[in-house]
Every structure is written in structure tokens, then in C-alpha cells.
């Protein structure tokens, strides 16, 4: 039983990380139907920017809380700016071309950003100042680290906040309108370019938060770290029903838990196979994901 619970905690943590990345995927997809391959790179950039700012702030003598809060906010801001720039350069000129063209542009951007990070930050992994958040406590024989609690909590809070943003605010309303019909929403005075920019910024901000938390949780960041979680998060977003915020959350948690349990009970080398098989099975029976989504007959 201890073993089961411990693995469940592991799975939830991993799922929380996937979910945070998946949120950005799903938001961008919802509004411009783009699988943003560069999204994983925002996550990696967030991880790097976090450690850069943390070491700078710590060196300039700020207290630990100031460091943490400052780094988190500035990093989210940085990644938001980065995402808006990427959108302007690589996606906006292609808004009226085939969706696959944008996909390839996103792929190129992903390679570009990853190598840009490598060139500016060096080929070695960067260590996080983990002593700030190190430590774990034991409950009934289970080891739970503070970071695990923080990751799950932050993911939960962000979900609520994001849902409020999408369904309760004017901006959210504009986003939903833009997602439904860009021409029509333009007619009623919504600047869809600005809304798309904003969506990218919010999605990248969330990925940046995930990047920092991953840095703290695992202790280091690497320029190529966005790629694999990026694919997993994409799978999570689809599993939950792409374009659906709550779905991304559920999908992320599920993929994380499946992976951990497959590794813990079956075989760790085939864990990704199990995750993908379950994904395919779910999509076979529910072709629009768990939470569902209105799929119109979109052509590639």
C-alpha cells in the first residue's frame, strides 16, 4: 500500500508538470488550431531564465522569498515576451496559409530556440540553487518533498485562475469569441491579433512557471529538456480534448500517473509505450478526447 501511494504521489507530480505545459498547448490550439512545437522550448527557456535570475538576485543579496517571487514573475514575463516575438516572426505571416505550413515553421522555431539556448547558455546542464526548496517530510512512511506539494498546489491554483480568466473576464470572452470565429469577432470590435498574442503570452508564462518548478524539483536544467515533455504534454492535451483547459489538466495528470504506474508495476522501459497505447485506446473510443471538443471537419 505504501508503495502504491508513493507511486501515486510520484505520478501526480509528474502529471502536474505535464498539465502545466499542456495548458499552453491547448490554449494556443484552441485559438489558432496550431500544434505549437516550439512550446516545449518556452518551458526550457523558463527553466534557464529562472536559474539566471535566481543566481543574480541571490548574488545581489536579496532574501530567499524576494528571490523566488522576483525570479518567478520576471521569468514568466520574459517567456511571455519571447512567445509574442516568436508568434510575430514565425506564425503571424503564415496566418492565412495552410495549417501545415505553420506547423513546419513551428518545428523550425523549436530547433532554432533550442540551439539558441545551447549557444548562449553553454552545452552543460545548469544547476539550480536547490537548497532554497530542498527537503522532504514523511507521512506514514511516504516520502513527500516540498516541491511535490508546491507543484501540485501551483498547478491546481493556475487551473482555477485560468478557468476564471477564460470564463469570467472580458479578455476570456474575447478569446472564446476569437476561437469560434475570427471574422465575426473582428466585426464586433475584437482585435484578434492582440488576442492571439495574449494567448501565446499566457501559455508561455505557464510553461515558464513549469520550467522553474522543474528546475527546482530535479535540480538542473538542460537546453534540450523541452522536447520530450513537449510531446508528452501535447499527448496530454489531446487526451483531455484539445482546446479544453480542464481537459488538459486531466490529460496531464492521467499521462503522468499512467507512466509512473507502468514503470512501477509493469516495466519501466515500456512505460511510454503504455502511455501511448492508452492514449490511442481512449481516442479510438472517444475520438475527441475525454472532455470532448467540437471538432469540425478540419482539413490538414
Amino acid at each position: 500500500m505504501d508503495y502504491f501511494l508513493q507511486q501515486l504521489i510520484n505520478g501526480l507530480t509528474l502529471g502536474g508538470i505535464y498539465a502545466l505545459i499542456a495548458l499552453g498547448y491547448t490554449m494556443v490550439y484552441g485559438i489558432i488550431q496550431l500544434i505549437n512545437f516550439a512550446h516545449g522550448e518556452f518551458f526550457a527557456a523558463g527553466g534557464y531564465m529562472g536559474v539566471i535570475l535566481l543566481s543574480y538576485l541571490a548574488a545581489s543579496g536579496a532574501g530567499p522569498y524576494v528571490c523566488l517571487a522576483g525570479a518567478l514573475i520576471l521569468t514568466m514575463g520574459y517567456c511571455a515576451v519571447l512567445a509574442m516575438a516568436v508568434e510575430k516572426v514565425a506564425y503571424k505571416p503564415l496566418r492565412h496559409s495552410s495549417r501545415l505550413s505553420v506547423l513546419i515553421s513551428a518545428l523550425g522555431m523549436s530547433i532554432f530556440l533550442q540551439n539558441g539556448l545551447m549557444l548562449t547558455q553553454g552545452v552543460y546542464d545548469k544547476a539550480y540553487p536547490t537548497q532554497m526548496t530542498q527537503g522532504s517530510f514523511q507521512v506514514a512512511g511516504l516520502y513527500i518533498s516540498y516541491m511535490q506539494v508546491i507543484i501540485v498546489a501551483v498547478t491546481g491554483i493556475l487551473l482555477v485562475a485560468l478557468n476564471a480568466l477564460v470564463f469570467k473576464t472580458r479578455i476570456g470572452k474575447a478569446m472564446r469569441a476569437s476561437a469560434q470565429d475570427k471574422i465575426m469577432s473582428g466585426l464586433v470590435g475584437i482585435d484578434s491579433d492582440r488576442i492571439i498574442s495574449l494567448t501565446f503570452a499566457i501559455g508561455a508564462g505557464l510553461a515558464a512557471a513549469a520550467g522553474i518548478m522543474v528546475g527546482f524539483y530535479y535540480g538542473s536544467v538542460h537546453y534540450g529538456m523541452g522536447f520530450v515533455p513537449g510531446i508528452k504534454a501535447f499527448a496530454a492535451a489531446v487526451l483531455g480534448g484539445i482546446g479544453n483547459v480542464t481537459g488538459a489538466m486531466i490529460g496531464g495528470a492521467l499521462i503522468g500517473i499512467i507512466e509512473v504506474f507502468a514503470a512501477g508495476y509493469l516495466s519501466s522501459e515500456y512505460k511510454d509505450v503504455f502511455a501511448f497505447v492508452i492514449l490511442i485506446a481512449v481516442l479510438y473510443f472517444r475520438p475527441t478526447g475525454i472532455m470532448g471538443e467540437n471538432v469540425d471537419d478540419t482539413r490538414v
Binding site: 535540480g219 534540450g224 514503470a263 512501477g264
Partner: protein
């Protein structure tokens, strides 16, 4: 008139010799192949920079007789067999005399066939797979140990020094790490150590919590970590500490990198031993190297001592 013609032609010949004189002295051109981009860029750049350093040292010590300069052409393989063959062919075109590389065994093997066909010397500093030098290629050499060799050292260390009875292995499914872990498991069984588990993780994984929880449940005496690079080694060690694994942790030579301490911090300082190769027993480790490693945190202490047969 005849004489005049003769003088002129001799002068012309002499001037030709004088003019081509400097050009006739040769450059020694060597190539390096390693992943300069992609997930293994850290180790790949270490290799390229290592070759550069070696060239600088050799040049400073007077160079190689008969050659004026040593030129290097570093090639990127991205740890992809196709690109490594392309790189090897490019080096053939550039008519290099020798090649240092590659990093991944799966890149070295096909590339070495190309270079062997053209009779170009290849020396790998990092591909530890036995097959690299076991195919009877005349021009393929290695300066690193072999997987079956390191496993003997590790087996001996586990048995004689750690006096362990049970062993758990984890590798990350690369030619190198898995080959090594398999050999260590074989060695351990031969020495009467019980292998309570052998798990695999995938390349690029960051989260090892599921596997580590398994290790903890099995509570072995020794936990052998066989990973392709030092950064994931550090991740594994940090998470092992967090999970509360009590076993003595043993790593191999690929995690043997300053990065390990930098990232792992106190998780590394507790109880980690790195094992080297038996046949690579460095009878005389340069003193400077020893001190530098010691200053870096003293983690590699035991490894070197073991290499010297001091325990």
C-alpha cells in the same frame, strides 16, 4: 648562347624550388567527430575541445616532426548514424590523416567502416562497446576501456570492498549504458551477488521517481547507476536521496564529470563511488589531476584509490 639558356633555366628551376619551398612543408590534418549539437552536445564538445587542447599541447612541445602545423576539422555527428557516415565521408574528402571520434558507439561503428575502406586511422575516445574494435578493422583503435572490462572492476569492487550481497541496476537503454549494466549483472551473478532488479529508463527522461521507488522497495545493498551522461546521473542521485534510498550508490565512468558535483551538490557528496576500468589502471596518475579531482569535492577519491589498488 647555349650557356645562357642553361643559366637561365637553372635559375628558373632554383626560383621554382625557392618559391615552392615553404609550400612544400606539410600540414598534418586530422578530423574529430562528435555530437556538437543535440542532446549529447556536452560530451561531444568536450571531445572536440579535448582534441584542440591536445593539438595545442603537442604544438607547444615542438609539434610532430615533418609537419609544420596540425590542423583540425571538427565534425558534428549529432549521434545519428546517418550524419556520422556523412561526416566521415566529408573527412575522407578533406583527406585527413586520422580521425578522433566518434562518441556514440552506434555512430562510430558505421563511420569506422567508411574510414577503414579509405585506410584512415580512427581512434575513439568514448565508444566503449566491444564491437567497435572487435570487427577486425585494421584502422580502428580505442583509448577508452571496454564495457566488459569495466564491469569486472565494478564486480570486484562490489564484492571485495562494499561486501554487498544484493544489487540493483538501472541503465538508460543506450548501447553503452545497457551493455555495461548487463555485464555488471553477469559479473555479479558469477561472484555470487544476488541481482534483485534490473530496470531501464529512457534517454531524455528527467523523472526517475517511479524506478527509484521500486529500488527503495527492493532495498538492495548496492545500487548501480549506469547512465549515458553525468547530468542524468546527477538527477538520479538527487532523486535517490529524496526517495530515501539507503544503498551504496555506484556509478560508472560516464557520470565521472565535474558537472556531477555541480548539479548534484550534497546528494553526490554522501556515498557515491565511481568505478573505472581494470585494464586502464593508471599506474601513474598525474598528480595534478588527482589534486584537482580531490578539490572538486573528493567524490572520486575511492575510484582512484581503487584504480591504484589501495583498498
Amino acid at each position: 648562347m647555349k650557356r645562357f639558356v642553361l643559366t637561365v633555366s637553372i635559375a628558373a628551376l632554383a626560383s621554382v624550388f625557392l618559391m615552392t619551398g615553404p609550400a612544400m612543408s606539410e600540414n598534418l590534418k586530422i578530423g574529430s567527430m562528435s555530437p556538437l549539437t543535440g542532446p549529447y552536445a556536452a560530451d561531444g564538445n568536450d571531445i572536440a575541445n579535448g582534441v584542440r587542447t591536445a593539438i595545442a599541447v603537442v604544438t607547444a612541445e615542438g609539434g610532430i616532426p615533418g609537419f609544420d602545423k596540425i590542423a583540425l576539422s571538427p565534425q558534428d555527428t549529432a549521434c545519428d548514424p546517418r550524419q556520422s557516415v556523412a561526416a566521415a565521408n566529408k573527412l575522407v574528402n578533406e583527406s585527413v590523416s586520422a580521425v578522433i571520434g566518434a562518441y556514440c558507439s552506434s555512430s562510430t561503428i558505421p563511420a569506422s567502416e567508411v574510414l577503414d575502406e579509405e585506410r584512415i586511422l580512427m581512434i575513439t575516445p568514448a565508444s566503449t562497446n566491444e564491437k567497435v574494435t572487435e570487427r577486425g578493422l585494421k584502422y580502428m583503435f580505442r583509448t577508452c576501456g571496454r564495457d566488459d572490462d569495466q564491469s569486472k572492476a565494478a564486480g570486484k569492487f562490489i564484492k571485495d570492498y562494499l561486501k554487498a550481497k544484493t544489487l540493483f541496476l538501472v541503465d538508460d537503454k543506450t548501447t553503452y549504458s545497457q551493455g555495461l549494466a548487463d555485464n555488471v549483472a553477469k559479473e555479479a551473478k558469477a561472484l555470487g551477488i544476488q541481482v534483485v532488479g534490473h530496470e531501464h529508463v529512457n534517454q531524455g527522461d528527467k523523472d526517475f521517481s517511479a524506478v527509484l521507488t521500486k529500488v527503495k522497495a527492493a532495498s538492495p545493498d548496492v545500487f548501480y547507476v549506469s547512465l549515458q551522461n553525468s547530468a542524468s546521473g546527477a538527477l538520479m542521485l538527487i532523486q535517490a536521496k529524496r526517495t530515501g534510498i539507503q544503498a551504496a550508490i555506484l556509478g560508472q565512468d560516464a557520470v565521472y564529470h565535474p558537472q556531477l558535483i555541480e548539479i548534484g551538490k550534497d546528494a553526490v557528496e554522501s556515498d557515491v563511488r565511481i568505478c573505472g576500468y581494470e585494464t586502464a589502471l593508471l599506474s601513474e596518475v598525474p598528480k595534478g589531476v588527482f589534486h584537482r579531482i580531490r578539490r572538486a569535492g573528493g567524490v572520486f577519491h575511492l575510484c582512484l584509490r581503487q584504480r591504484h589498488g589501495l583498498f
